[in-house]
């Protein structure tokens, strides 16, 4: 309610602004809105998806140049020019995204910078078309093709305001949709999202193109605003400006970047009026913000004034009675040992450079079976899991899941066929709450996972299932705690719960009890014991008590090979196993 009031007040102020401001000040306000849009578009990939870019001005500049060139040289028609500008920005980001999203971190920064620079080079060098260094002057305010002219200050301001509000609402819907929530998940842990069944590349790509489109809108507006376009619009200075606006305002918050943009535009105006050293001041802003205010204005606000913004929980989801799902009744499902084949490994090998980590391993696991994999460190157990989940391709060999060859399938496709896993090194979403994490896992198995036009709150079934899982697995009390604030034992439990929430049929658990106290080990082991009987489980475990308790069958690995395999009691007596574990080599 308070928020609705705040938004209404904000919109009312923006609508009434032309009455209170001089035409110069109104021009400034228009510029703020245009740059707010630019910064918010960057924030979609930077703040939500965690993809930094030093070339975001590319789409801004391409939009501006397209509109400018068409309006000045071809035809001055608003719909045609604006549409073409949008199309050009979209095509550019679609192309650049293909190249850039293969990289991460510093490489991503460099590639985006380099790509934007290619366009800068074209605009700079292609003099007869673009005017080169001197730019392209004389772009008229939009009018032709529209019912009324936008040449006056207030009318253009209202036009920009309408575009700003529409784009903001669109962004607001996207970041609250299952798609937007998944972007945050990717920011927090891309690998975890992959094994939960998300095609993370596609999410990042769609976000990248969407951000390029909105940046294009702001570039279109800015060329109308300024009446001029020059290579500077494509330059690193503009790209970096958008970055600092996002961070100053607060990355990952919807309106933070708009605040950052307003602050920078205002400061530039005030400081340029009194001194020629604006660039020095801007440089100092970069230094101060990165050193002392990495969370930005909104970050500070949220820290001081209350809870972070969380996806709202629909009321009907909370009231859903927490009935345990039928599939999760533990225990007594048919113990038929020889069900259909769940997982078949055939001659699987993997080399790391010259090191053969896994050497012609073959075995088969039946549906519903509980198999424990034993072996000393470096035996190739985790490598096996990484190959089975598709995190890297095998050197040779085949993997079949329920009779289907998945050797070349992407990780998220395997996850959707019912393959789940946990990691030896805890792989969770540090800055999401327990509930949000479980929601992501539940959503990954739901067809709503790629919806981007409806908020997550419109899917009460996801919340209901997440809440039910939390109650059933005794994490309900911790539902609103940030993952990174959980104890290590709780994190291990949450990781198991995430794997389970994705409704797997085959589950790979990589040392779930490693590093836990005896009490924590007991509760994690108890959790695994209560897993639905029809879920096939492969467990890497060093704790012999846990291993022998949970296993129906064991496989022993050593130096990348299967040394022996068999039912529990056989392995217990096998002399070779003792030898391996006591460090006596066969030779």
């Amino acid at each position: 309610m308070k928020r609705t009031l705040g938004i209404a007040t904000g919109v009312a102020v923006l609508v009434l602004l032309p009455l209170a401001l001089s035409s110069y000040q109104l021009g400034l306000a228009t510029k703020m809105l245009i740059f707010a849009l630019f910064a918010m578009s960057l924030n979609l990939i930077l703040g939500y998806a965690g993809l930094p870019s030093l070339g975001h001005a590319a789409y801004f500049g391409v939009g501006a140049y397209t509109v400018g060139l068409l309006a000045v040289r071809v035809v001055d028609n608003f719909w045609l020019d604006f549409g073409a500008g949008l199309l050009a920005a979209g095509v550019t980001s679609a192309l650049f995204g293909l190249l850039a999203l293969r990289a991460q971190g510093a490489y991503l920064l460099m590639i985006t910078l380099a790509l934007a620079q290619v366009l800068w080079g074209i605009a700079f060098g292609w003099r007869w078309l673009t005017g080169g260094d001197d730019g392209l002057p004389g772009v008229p305010r939009p009018g032709a093709g529209l019912p009324w002219s936008l040449s006056s200050g207030p009318s253009f301001y209202y036009f920009v305001l309408v575009v700003f509000v529409v784009a903001t609402v669109a962004l607001w819907v996207v970041v609250r949709s299952p798609f937007g929530v998944a972007l945050v998940g990717i920011r927090e842990s891309e690998r975890r999202m992959q094994v939960l069944g998300y095609n993370t590349w596609l999410y990042k790509y769609v976000a990248f193109v969407l951000a390029g489109l909105i940046a294009g809108v702001s570039g279109n507006l800015f060329v109308y605003y300024n009446g001029f376009v020059s290579p500077a619009y494509l330059s690193i200075v503009f790209s970096a400006m958008a970055l600092i606006m996002v961070i100053l305002g607060g990355a990952g918050t919807l309106l933070g970047p708009a605040l950052g943009s307003a602050a920078i535009v205002l400061l530039e105006n005030v400081i340029s009026a009194s001194t020629e050293r604006w660039l020095t001041v801007l440089g100092l802003i970069y230094v101060v913000v990165t050193m002392f205010a990495p969370a930005g204005i909104m970050g500070w606000w949220l820290l001081t004034w209350g809870a972070p913004i969380r996806p709202p929980i629909p009321p009907n989801a909370r009231s859903t009675p927490a009935k345990p799902g039928r599939s999760s009744i533990p225990g007594q499902a048919p113990r038929s040992r020889y069900g259909a084949s769940a997982l078949k490994i055939d001659g699987l090998s993997h080399d790391f450079g010259g090191l053969r980590a896994l050497d012609a391993v073959s075995f088969e696991v039946a549906e519903g079976e509980r198999l424990v994999i034993l072996g000393p460190n470096g035996a190739g157990k985790t490598t096996l899991f990484n190959l089975v989940t598709g995190l890297f391709p095998p050197t040779v060999g085949r993997i079949a899941l329920f009779g289907r060859d998945v050797t070349r399938l992407a990780p998220h496709r395997r996850a959707r066929l019912g393959l789940g896993r946990t990691f030896q090194i805890t792989t969770l979403f540090p800055r999401l709450t327990v509930l949000e994490s479980v929601l992501l896992a539940v959503q990954g198995a739901d067809r709503a996972r790629f919806t981007l036009h409806r908020p997550l709150a419109a899917f009460p079934r996801l919340f209901a299932r997440a809440e039910r899982l939390l109650e059933e697995w005794l994490l309900a009390e911790r539902r609103d705690v940030l993952t990174r604030q959980l104890s290590y034992g709780e994190q291990r439990q949450l990781e198991l719960l995430l794997a389970l929430a994705a409704e797997p049929r085959v589950l790979l658990l990589d040392e779930p009890t490693a590093g836990l106290s005896p009490a924590e080990t007991a509760s994690v082991a108890g959790m695994i014991r209560r897993f639905p009987r029809d879920v096939t489980i492969l467990l890497i475990e060093h704790d012999m008590d846990v291993a022998l308790e949970l296993a129906e069958r064991l496989i022993v690995f050593h130096n990348g090979r299967v040394v022996t395999a068999g039912p529990r009691d056989e392995i217990r007596k096998d002399a070779r196993v003792a030898e391996i574990y006591l460090g006596i080599d066969e030779a």
Binding site: A106, Q117, G121, I122, L243, W278, T280, G283, T290, M291
Partner: protein
């Protein structure tokens, strides 16, 4: 024939300058994973300081030392006081260095003004040399020789000395290097200072050829980036051959297709990005 020989010579000498600039950028990234956008400032600031010192003393050598020393101090300041206190994330680091790029550029404009300026050539290299039928300015030959010597020295340092072994260890895994007793902290500062010094050297040596002006810092930064993208980030070999390639491309591009000057550099870079994202000699 003369045209090709002269253009090749010009391209190679420019390539050697680019190598000096890119080597520091590449080394700093290799060791600390920091994308140092202020690298262009080192070039410009070194040249400006050298200009002033040449004006006061008339000694090119003294000017070179002063220019490099100033930049080394700036580099150490940035590394020790600022970058070190940031979390090890690429974006804040890059933005911080971008702030320095803006500040140094603007303060230089304040002190040295906006007119393009050129360092005078040292007296010794004022004349030209005759090689068979061709006449070359001896200064360009000096630049090529200097680049080759620095390249060889760097290679020797990295591959054949204890310091180089420590550096390679720290690049490979800083934590393990630290655990084996290597002072990675000191090494980082050293590499930062050294990289800055190389960039300043590039500026001072290139000063008589390219000059210095507002915006030169950006231009040089971008050229250095193109070099490391083509050659491969973190690779000395990549910086050397990338520098040569870009130097030649730039020269012949400007001579043969003046309209598409920038494009002849950026287009090959885009192709390399598409085909080999880690560059010609990149490890990844």
């Amino acid at each position: 024939m003369t045209f090709w020989a002269i253009q090749t010579l010009n391209g190679v000498s420019f390539g050697m300058l680019l190598f000096l600039l890119a080597a520091g950028l590449s080394l700093i990234f290799g060791l600390m994973k920091i994308l140092n956008l202020a690298h262009g400032s080192y070039y410009a600031l070194g040249t400006y300081v050298a200009l002033s010192v040449v004006g006061w003393t008339g000694s090119f050598l003294l000017a070179a030392v002063a220019g490099m020393a100033t930049v080394v101090v700036l580099g150490i300041l940035m590394e020790r006081v600022f970058l070190r206190r940031l979390p090890r994330e690429e974006l804040p680091q890059a933005l911080l260095t971008f702030g320095f790029l803006l500040i140094v550029g603007d303060v230089s404009l304040w002190i040295w003004g906006g007119t393009p300026q050129t360092l005078p050539k040292p007296e010794v290299f004022a004349h030209s040399v005759r090689l068979g039928p061709l006449i070359f300015p001896s200064y360009r030959l000096f630049v090529i020789a200097l680049g080759a010597v620095v390249g060889l020295a760097l290679w020797f340092l990295q591959e054949r000395t204890r310091l180089g072994a420590m550096l390679r260890a720290a690049i490979d895994d800083a934590d393990i290097a630290r655990a084996t007793g290597i002072n990675v902290s000191l090494l980082s500062t050293g590499v930062f200072a050294f990289g800055a010094a190389l960039a300043a050297l590039g500026g001072i040596v290139g000063g008589p050829l390219l000059g210095v002006y507002p915006g030169a810092d950006f231009e040089i930064l971008l050229l250095a980036f193109v070099v490391v993208i083509i050659g491969g980030l973190g690779s000395l070999k990549g910086a050397f051959f990338g520098g040569l390639l870009v130097g030649l491309l730039d020269n012949f591009g400007k001579a043969l297709f003046p309209q598409a000057a920038m494009f002849t550099i950026f287009a090959p870079m885009a192709i390399i990005l598409a085909v080999r994202p880690s560059g010609l000699f990149g490890a990844r």
